[in-house]
Amino acid sequence: MDTKRDGPLGSVMVVGGGIAGIQAALDLANTGYYVYMVEKSPAIGGVMSQLDKTFPTNDCAMCIISPKLVELGRHLNIKLLTLSEVEGIEGRVGRFTVRVKQRARYVDMEKCIACGLCAEKCPRKVDNEYNQGMSQRKAIYVKYPQAVPLKYSIDEANCIYIEKGKCRACEKLCPAGAVDFSQKDKTHEIEVGAVILSPGFQTCDARPLVELYGQNPNVVTSLEFERLLSATGPTQGHLVRPSDHKEPKKIAWLQCVGSRDSHRQGAHSYCSGVCCMYAIKEAMVAKEHCQDPLDTAVFYMDMRTYGKDFEKYYNRAREEQGVRFIRSRVYNVDAVPGSDDVLIQYASDAGDQSDGHPEIVVHQEQFDMVVLSVGVETSPETIELAKRLGVKLTEHNFAETDPFTPVSTSRPGIYVCGLFQGPKDIPFSVMEASAAACAAEIDLAPARGTQVKSRSVPPEQDLSEQEPRIGVFVCNCGINIASVVDVKAVMAYAATLPNVVYSQEYLFTCSQDTQEKVKQTILEHRLNRVVVAACSPRTHEPLFQETMKDCGLNKYLFEMANIRDQDSWVHQKEPGPATEKAKDLIRMSVARAALLKPLTEKPLEINQRALVVGGGIAGMNAALGLSRQGFEAVIVEKEPQLGGMARNISQTIEGLDVLAYVDKLVQEVKDAGIEVLSGSHLAGLSGYKGNFISTIDTGNGAREITHGVVVVATGAREYKPKEFGYGESDRVMTQLDLDKLIRQHSGKVSKWQRVIMIQCVGSRNKDNPNCSKICCQGAVKHALRLKKINPEMDVIVLFRDMRMYGVLEDYYTQARKEGVLFVRYDEKDQPEVSFNGPGIGVAFNDLVLGRRVSLGADAIVLGAATLAEENEQLATLLKVPRNAEGFFIEAHAKLRPVDFSSEGIYLCGTAHGPKLISETIAQSMAAAARAASFLSNKDMTVGGVVAQVEPGLCAACLVCVRNCPYGVPRIDPEKGVSEINEALCQGCGTCVSECPAKAIRLGHYQDDQIMIKVDALLEGVV
């Protein structure tokens, strides 16, 4: 098993099963590493599983996370350790020994069938933490209905038997005999090559911050509010206020509860980075939930909608949905005597007075409900964990990382991702997770594939000459099915159906021992089709299909009838009709089974080379991330030298030398033997994922390169302003111009008396509705640098919202302390720049003073927007989409932030949207990890459920070409008929149902295979 004694191990431990941990585990396991997933609660899913919808797409959180949970739960190379915590670690990178304590579950996971009878009968009710204590669960429970693993567990702190030695109701009633009070806590010693920490966060405790919270039930935290919106929440998604269960008419959100607050105990000085967006989302979703118009108001300091397409979301909320945004300081949240309402007293920001009145005015407004946008923080348990692991923390208790190695903790071989690294949203957590996977994969590259398991199956039987011989297995599911449906009668009925040569019932068909019996039966009775009448194919089909494979049967010769979820569970009070329905369902499945055909899946070799388009920080990191894992990478860079935009940036806001970093990267690229085609661009692309052929125009002739994947890292550019006299005077400059000036003529700069910076130049306006995210940071960075050069210099920043998200807030605070003046202006009341001979000046409305101020300045620095590079040609070649502003659109804004929807093409850096260097590095490593996970398979399986064209019938009408959501079909110019590449087809069947000549067939879902079920159901009806 192990490689040489001193070589690294091919396994990784991921600590924390939230979305970041899940992503890291899946990336690693799919790239050839064995993963131990350590989760302290009984199920994975983390906070994301508690969210209702996610911004800015309003996707249902559960809908998008659920497939990931299932994939992880079923993964052959992920060992899931729930109720587990890391106690200690020894060793070094490549070879750690981790001590994991696993608490007793008191339920045998092998036996539990998640029927829920135990919980139904358990007499002890406790607050349900998944619903933030707003509903109750039993002492034996599953965390939530979609939980993975979907196995009950006993909460020992609340179990009557464990507490008092009496009860055992669950044990008595469990039909599977799964309850096991003899279980004890266990300690595992696990050897792994690397560790990824993704323990997540907790929300700040609102009690010390808002007195009324905890006293008035209508004051809730944002996470509680998520549960109130959720269909799986305490009110089944009916938005009612907790005090009287009436639909609210008026809800307020209070921002920055526990964030951007360096004074109060329990609060944090950093910005939590996500609350503005989730508050907007909650306000919009809440409006959708209510029958009557709902008034929503968000009380905030700065609206920080800095992410990709976030500003559009904010605009939509404000302009189309009528969410009110009130820039203010709330100083009191009070009860309204005689009612459950809440009174908010606030001082409005002077600038928001419509009459421009300078004085701060105090207002009060009454609301039905108040949502506290609570910030994020590292939990005490995680702080303890970090101590045990020897991982250093920042002053804010996040894992300490370097901006150039954003996922490396202070201890080599231990990586971090998600909220423990710093405040961030889901997509950035997912990016970091893949980046952390990449970092671990680099450490352990020699051991890739050494510890993973693969299933060996006997060769498939040839059934072409055989008549269907169907076996029907009817499951009692303990009493889940049997208590309602007459299983014996159903079994006997099944035996009478055409082609059925065998039928049998089992107590638990899915149990390990039954599967063995099923195998024997298949072989003994020479079954060549199997129908299981039991529960949902969503959870169990793969299990039974594995059994089929073990018997040398094609897995597509399997059919399931769901007589539990769709029958016994919903017709509990009508056993007779339920039995008849079970017969109907089985008759349908048997009929279909007879028509099923084996589908072949064949391997297709993957070219192991990656093409990276763009040689800036993103491209170089992506190429290095792949190269260091042993995959060949080729960089195509349009400029004569590598480095991209970063060559114009001297240092990060933390003070790190960017130019030196770029030089180091260039050297590393050279040392790694990565081929660099500079002064070149991608001129042509053919083939498909796994086997692309690119034509590179190198400036002196074309080069053809074959490769398996593409990484797009084409970067962005700084907007050349048309505003504020830019270009008319060399005293008006962008932040990048200023950077250059400081670098080259700091003497000149040091003589300046006053510098005025203007933010949002070319951003957040009609032409470019997005926020460019990094300009506030750029202004603060340079303001601090100027203050360092000459502390006497006046530095004034004219801004609309200071978007110093996350721990960047520290620098904003520092800048204010050092005397940088921040003055807000309104979008409709732009500052005016005037030239007066050699002098320049800026006139603006000081919203606090309430009057117009004119100031002369030595320099005016514009926070110019970050715009997409000219990339239309590339987008067309790769057939990848771009948003209205020209940034590439990832496959999914939340969970696939570095993938394109076309497989084999990945995205990183500012080509995706404006972002910081540290974020770019993380995203590039993530792109490398995603590409590596594809490349590491050496070959990909194609076929199975894919569409196939019958050329003789095809009229080449283009209907399939126009309708495929993935753009897969094309008309073969030689044959003159449609061709659907089985490697690219996703198997949705849209083309099949549209084809006017019915020339396309979808494997496993042919018309006859679908219609036969209808025929069987309605047999004898007409």
Binding site: Q146, A231, G989
Partner: protein, 106 residues
């Protein structure tokens, strides 16, 4: 079905032709299609079948499209009840009624 994008007009027609009283298609929420837009195609096909039903004097309400997510169990139950109630109001598929009559006559 892998996706409601695979639901063809003929599938819905056949179900009614074979005597079903009603047929509904349950797809992902709009904008949340697992296969990007299959549910939108299905919606159009359902609308088409409704037109055909009108043209042959059958009640278009016998077919319907619903959108819900995998996490909305209660909603699914609600839809089933809604559809059952609707079909109950409409009465049996006329094809079936005639079929029964034919049997008696035979």
């Amino acid at each position: 079905m892998p996706c409601t994008g695979r639901v063809a007009i003929i599938h819905l027609m056949k179900a009614l032709e074979k005597g079903a009283d009603g047929v509904f298609v349950a797809g992902c929420l709009e904008g949340d299609c697992h296969y990007q837009a299959g549910n939108l195609r299905a919606k159009k096909r359902v609308a088409y079948v409704q037109e055909v039903l009108k043209s042959i004097g059958m009640d278009p309400e016998r077919v319907a499209m619903y959108n819900l997510s995998a996490g909305q169990g209660p909603r699914f139950a609600e839809i089933c009840r809604e559809m059952t109630e609707r079909v109950r109001q409409l009465g049996p598929n006329p094809i079936r009624k005639n079929g029964e009559r034919k049997e008696k006559a035979a």
